[in-house]
Amino acid sequence: MSLFNKQLLKFLILIGFTSHLSAAPNKPPECVGIPLQAEFASGVGWSMCLSLDDEEGLSIHQLKHRSSGQERRVLGKASLSQLEIVFDDNTQPPSFAVTRGGLGGDKLLKLSPKDCAGGQLYPEASDRRHNLLCARTQDAGLLYRYGYQAQRQGAFFEVFSISQATASQTYTQRWRFYETGVIEPAIGFSGKMPRFAPAHLGFGRAIADADEWALGFSAYLGWRLDFDLGQDANNDIAEEINSRPSASRRHKSLSTEVLSAETSRSLNPELKTSWRIKDADERNEFGQAISYELVPSQYHQSNGDVRGRPWLKYDVYFTRYRECEQHASDNPRQAGCARNVLQASQDQEPLERTDLVLWYKQNYHYLPRSDDSDYLSTDWMSFQLVPRDWTAGNPL
């Protein structure tokens, strides 16, 4: 295909995409991209639409979970919204792998059946020449066991695409949807050792017998999770959960706080902080509000911000849905729209019973070693969204 045609195609895709996005927030849309369904032997299932966007790469739309005979929406749209890479020598500005480099388009690697054993390959919805997405169901091992009375094996449905973001850096975007209702987004870091610097500067590590040292890097990930629980996307509530020890530290007391206005928060491991999004109206059969909880991970590297980037100050941000706020950082300049998620959360708009977006920041630091010369062993960064009171009892 000529370059002109390729550009034209990109433009057309963009039109298709834009026309959806400019619709009223979360008007029940037709499927964006590839419609996929997964059903496990237990009858539990997932349905979703997947798009491969020029900037974000793999995006999940209209994710629904079906269990106990009832299907309910969890997410309106979710994706990695930014990936900034800063090398340890800090001589170059951050790369904005999503907003400037892009993880989609011609960055997406063509997949072959070998890359997707036991699964099915899909082309992009609008350009069907190349397979860019793998979807498959895999065994998850033991699901539960209770003595000799009950035991069961579990499974998950996974989708992934792979982006060759730069000459050396390869990122896999993988989402797992477990039979248990758990959602696990992940990024795999692989490729070749991306950069070296003269040893005398003291940045990085010697990984081969050479005068140049391999540079470590920080990857700052901004996940954008537009929750739309149940039928109504505009009635979600965010809650922070903390557990406080008594003076003797023998007792603990659980507290939940409704986050009534846009806010930024950080994990306190001593308080076992977590956050959940619950629906204001829909309940399980016990009368409990249905919800999904964010279980943070990678705490041990979560605060290594070498450049003082504003959006890295907190672990999570809660904002009211705005069409023009799509990226955790380097969001396009536009009147009335924030440039980054810290800014987006600062005007403290009311959050209760709205269409809300949960932004989760992660930091992965890569420490070079000979074992990764010259091909990096894939490192996975993931976190989980776990159903809380989604069903009255374990549906499995």
Partner: protein
């Protein structure tokens, strides 16, 4: 020593081997030759696991069953694809599962008080161990051995290698809980040790005490609790523990960038993760170096450290995320140590200023705070808590790069 399985034939092996190797640390070739038969020498065939992974890596280790630890592993050695077998761990075991409840109604020490072995060790069946093999102890299948795909080991443009791992697990029933200690060994040298918690909720309360837990049905509140998991890892890199040392790595801002600061931990100590300095630890061999002239090492990654529990003063062993102590045979458990009359009682007292210059023990831990939810009844889906041990200049280059298709 009473808990050591009599089938472990050569428990005394370590002493002569270690003494022999002490004087030979510069003779690298001898070390290689010595460790090549390590597992075979250390246990009988019934207690040996020798697993060749599809990409060519081989893991070799012994297992044993004890009343308290359940399944312990020892003489763990790894042979990279097209490489030489090298010992890593003299011994690895789960050293405590401490379960304090938020209402202070129970504070269990499951390993030392109940034990993961003997009658608590569950008989496994084929359904639990698909495509695997069941290993028996006196006729009872107690250990599932599987070789499993683990996704892409490496990927660059259209070059890729699919990775595999050896996975071993057993199941121990303690009260309403079923614990699943799992030991995984990757074809790139990485080890992941984890414990799955499943079964049923153990303790409940009623509506008036709602801050002690979470309603799991209209009548019942499940009491919130912690699972504090501790492992005891006796590293003997290249078969010799006497020349291993611990380095803590912190990243500090310097020359406008981030520089690694390495500090040798020479005395027994407890340490915490530090997200601001991207702190990590490596256990290093002082004799063997790779082709980049870096000493061979393993990194200890506490990747699940987002929930911390520092308990009351009588549970001082919960204070730190990881402990490093001098190796002592009678310091077996993270808390409620056996023979407390002759040995120290827990991690907080194992750390008493002794030098780590001789053989050392690493005690990594991770905590899982379980706030019950409606989904936890009647059967609770499994939750995994783990740690990771990753090669650090162990190889000269990625050992699986030659498998690129």
């Amino acid at each position: 020593m009473s808990q050591i399985n009599p089938h472990l034939q050569s428990q005394s092996l370590i002493t002569p081997t270690k003494q022999l190797l002490l004087g030979m640390s510069s003779l690298i070739l001898s070390l290689y030759a010595d460790t090549a038969v390590l597992a075979e020498e250390s246990c009988s065939a019934d207690y040996t696991i020798n697993a060749a992974l599809p990409n060519g890596a081989i893991w070799n280790l012994c297992w044993e069953q004890t009343l308290q630890n359940g399944i312990s592993l020892h003489h763990i050695a790894y042979q990279p694809k097209a490489g030489t077998q090298q010992a890593i761990l003299y011994r690895a075991e789960l050293a405590q599962v401490h379960v304090p409840y938020d209402d202070n109604g129970a504070r269990y020490h499951d390993i030392s008080d109940y034990g993961f072995g003997e009658k608590n060790l569950q008989a496994l069946d084929e359904k639990l161990c698909p495509n695997g093999s069941l290993i028996k102890y006196y006729g009872k299948p107690i250990l599932c051995q599987q070789i499993l795909p683990r996704g892409e080991e490496l990927r660059y443009q259209n070059q890729a290698v699919q990775g595999y791992k050896l996975s071993l697990f057993s199941i121990s029933q303690i009260g309403s809980y079923n614990y699943v200690p799992r030991w995984e060994f990757f074809d790139n040298g990485t080890m992941e040790f984890a414990v799955g918690a499943t079964g049923a909720l153990q303790r409940f309360t009623t509506g008036s005490q709602s801050d002690l837990g979470w309603p799991i049905s209209p009548e019942k509140i499940g009491v919130s609790h912690l699972h504090n998991f501790f492992w005891r890892l006796d590293f003997d890199l290249a078969g010799n523990g006497a020349n291993d040392y611990i380095e803590e790595i912190n990243f500090v801002r310097e020359d406008q960038g981030l520089k690694a600061k390495h500090e040798i931990l020479s005395l027994e100590t407890g340490r915490d993760v530090n997200p601001a300095t991207l702190r990590t630890w490596i256990v290093v061999d002082s004799a063997l170096k790779n082709q980049a002239n870096s000493p061979i090492a393993y990194e200890i990654q506490l990747y699940q450290s987002g929930q911390r529990d520092v308990g009351p003063e009588e549970e001082a062993f919960t204070k730190y995320d990881i402990y490093f102590t001098k190796a002592k045979e009678c310091e077996r458990f993270a808390s409620r140590n056996a023979n407390a009359d002759v040995c120290a009682k827990d991690l907080s007292t194992y750390v008493n200023g002794e030098s780590l210059q001789e053989d050392l023990i690493v005690w990594p831990s991770t905590s899982f705070y379980h706030i019950p939810r409606a989904e936890d009844s009647p059967n609770m889906n499994i939750h995994w808590s783990g740690i990771r041990l990753k090669p650090f200049d162990w190889h000269n280059s990625n050992p699986l790069a030659s498998s690129i298709r």
